[in-house]
Symmetry: C2
């Protein structure tokens, strides 16, 4: 986000479903450059309504960037990204509207064709759905948007120099965003992790398996008395968020962890989020359901 | 450097001996915030003159940051950093002058007491003189300077949040500069590397050994006809820069590499730079001298 040439009064649009890391960065940029920030209530479209229209209606004449997630980390909603991007790119304001995508929850899950999605900046981390090493991720920059995104951190790998070694500019391609000596083995680790997933099936096959498993889990959760899923329709990807009546979510998460069932709390909306990958077992879903059922029936005490 | 709250017209002082990664970052900040940048000709003090006076005389009323290296990467000169910092901190301008130190060549070499040096920001990489893993380093921020350095990249490890998870500010201590999920094994690797050096002797002992070896190499280089060292006095740390008359430096470096003698060219000033660590062998210095002597005598052809 720092790479845009921000001017006071520029507008940045967020959604109400972004991770606090994104919000904190936006707050700092707002403070530093005097930009205007607004937040569109995307969470209202979880079970109806049109997210594309919602976002489009929040664009302003001076909007320069829309920052949103492809898959919302809290509710698991999958945004129709190509349509969102098209709406932003056809907006007639003072600037071309750039779309920055937090792809933390979508890369490694959705079959992706970035050239078709046309998102300007698509940023992911390798340690989540790719199960790669911690500390490495990637940023896709659409070639047409490259001039709007200057490198923030500069290093010898990204700059061009003259005969005396003095920097003269950025490398012409994406290498401009590479900095200096890096943890190169992590890159190999991530590549190998991705290759391993590809051995397990096509992206489309893996996505369908994930969907079918999360659908399975969602159905069972919905059938549990005292449990309600945030979504009234089956999940579109691997995140399944739900609420349990009469239970402290943090305490429930902790006791599930003791049973080797790893789920997490989300604070807004207040819920528990389970993740289902394509390699998750149905029996693991069953066990999660069974332990929650026991808790609800107080059988443990 | 991005963490300072730059305003148009603020002044940043560089030296003419900084790495092009630093210069490129300064150029980008200059372009983005409209700050004034000037470069003081520190290289003139390599063999005489007073670097502290030189730097102090280049401070301006609106100087906010002085960015320099503790050990200059091209000539190997060691700056009297405590005195430089004192001169900057006692400068009476519109702002407190902050000192940012590129410690790439000094950490792992010099015995350091950062609280005595009083530098505001002291940044090092672990893969150079610590011989640690690539991709991890550190930044020391003097507590008194912390409010002048906002985090640039924000993440869940550095922010405070309210009951709904919304970010409310930065962690009170240095943790504010930590971002999110990182390559944690690298941290352990660096710690282990540092521990290994400490087993080899105290920082003072290791530094003296480095000095004595670089002095040894420098003396032999000076005695070689056709070779001149940039410094007319023995080196103060491990970098020994020299020029060889009648030879292409890149070609000479390449042929030395074939003999497993790893040195590098520097473009400004045009020279070859050798590095001597405390564990370098005298016999390795001798071999470097011998191969250069052979090249100069054309015995190889």
């Amino acid at each position: 986000m720092w790479g845009m040439d921000w001017r006071a009064g520029d507008h940045l649009l967020l959604t109400d479903c972004e991770h606090h890391s994104i919000i904190a960065t936006v707050q700092e940029i707002q403070r530093r450059f005097g930009i205007a920030v607004s937040t569109c209530p995307l969470s209202k479209t979880l079970n109806g309504g049109n997210p594309v229209e919602m976002i489009a209606s929040h664009l302003q004449p001076n909007t320069r960037l829309v920052a949103l997630s492809h898959i919302l980390w809290n509710t698991g909603q999958v945004l129709p990204l190509a349509e969102v991007v098209a709406a932003c790119h056809t907006h007639s304001g003072h600037y071309p509207v750039r779309v920055l995508v937090d792809a933390a929850q979508s890369v490694g899950v959705l079959p992706l064709k970035l050239d078709e999605l046309q998102a300007d900046f698509y940023a992911f981390t390798g340690h989540k759905w790719w199960c790669g090493p911690e500390g490495v991720g990637g940023l896709y920059v659409r070639p047409e948007a490259r001039d709007d995104l200057h490198p923030t951190f500069a290093g010898w790998r990204g700059v061009t120099t003259d005969a005396t070694g003095h920097p003269t500019g950025w490398k012409p391609d994406g290498q401009r965003y590479e900095v200096a000596t890096s943890a190169f083995p992590l890159f190999t680790g991530l590549r190998e992790a991705i290759a391993l997933h590809h051995q397990a099936g096509t992206p489309q096959d893996r996505y369908q398996r994930t969907q079918s498993l999360s659908h399975y889990l969602w159905q069972q959760l919905v059938a549990l008395p005292g449990v309600s899923c945030l979504r009234t329709q089956p999940p579109e990807a691997g995140l399944v968020s739900f609420q349990v009546r009469g239970q402290s979510h943090p305490q429930l998460v902790q006791s599930l962890e003791k049973e080797n069932l790893l789920v997490r709390t989300i604070l807004n909306p207040n819920c528990i989020r389970a993740c289902v990958h394509y390699f998750t077992l149905e029996s693991e879903c069953d066990r999660l359901i069974e332990v929650i059922r026991q808790k609800l029936e107080g059988r443990e005490n």
